[in-house]
Symmetry: C2
Subunit: 133 residues, 2 copies
């Protein structure tokens, strides 16, 4: 996510797709393990680093730091540093990130619905009705 070897096919493909398509670009910005969740936690209010950490069980300092930095670089959140000791830093969504809120809400709905559909399908006896061969 951080450092890339810009000559690799992997990286070239990524860049091509990002240039080519706003959707891929969007998913690229949001695609880390914790990114969407970080944004989601910030939907309600400003949070500081330690508060975010509490709300994301299982995340390490490093991962939180990395994702926050990238989200900031990509214009999705605003980082505010207070000159105190011990340090205090807080994070809030940018306007552009707020425009995403209705989208991720729909994604949440779709995800829950799709999962329940999947669970039903798995519970059914397999019939292979789709293949005409």
């Amino acid at each position: 996510m951080a450092k890339r070897k810009i000559t690799s096919t992997n990286s070239i493909n990524r860049d091509n797709l990002i240039d080519f398509c706003g959707m891929v670009y969007a998913v690229d910005l949001l695609g880390g393990r914790w990114k969407l969740l970080i944004l989601y936690k910030l939907e309600q209010r400003i949070l500081r680093f330690s508060e975010l950490k509490k709300k994301l069980p299982g995340i390490s300092d490093r991962m939180l730091t990395l994702h926050l930095q990238e989200l900031e670089q990509h214009g999705l959140l605003i980082r505010t540093v207070y000159a105190e000791v011990p340090p205090r830093v807080d994070y809030q969504l940018t306007d552009s990130a707020r425009l995403l809120i209705p989208i991720w809400q729909q994604l949440e709905q779709w995800g829950l619905q799709h999962r329940s559909v999947m669970e039903q399908v798995e519970a059914e006896p397999v019939e292979e009705a789709g293949n005409r061969n």
Copy 2:
């Protein structure tokens, strides 16, 4: 994407987040390099393997196969095999995947808009106006 070591922290975190949140689950299903684009190409009509390949410049056989298999497993597309030689296989969206169409259209819009905002910001002189320290 395919094989995972289910005891790793990486994998455990992933599973926990997926269980916990429909949004993360959704992004997990759609998160491969080419997946959203594959679905998008299938929005208009059924396509066969070779047609998809033409529409996705830079993709290898293997990547296309892998993503198609996973999308099928996850209930996002339907694979139909015809008993012909040479083989013919085609792919179409499931109903559940069709429900995603308006969402990815919004994501596409947001992506284009956000990118143009980002380009403006980068063009401006840096002022660091956000940090009070």
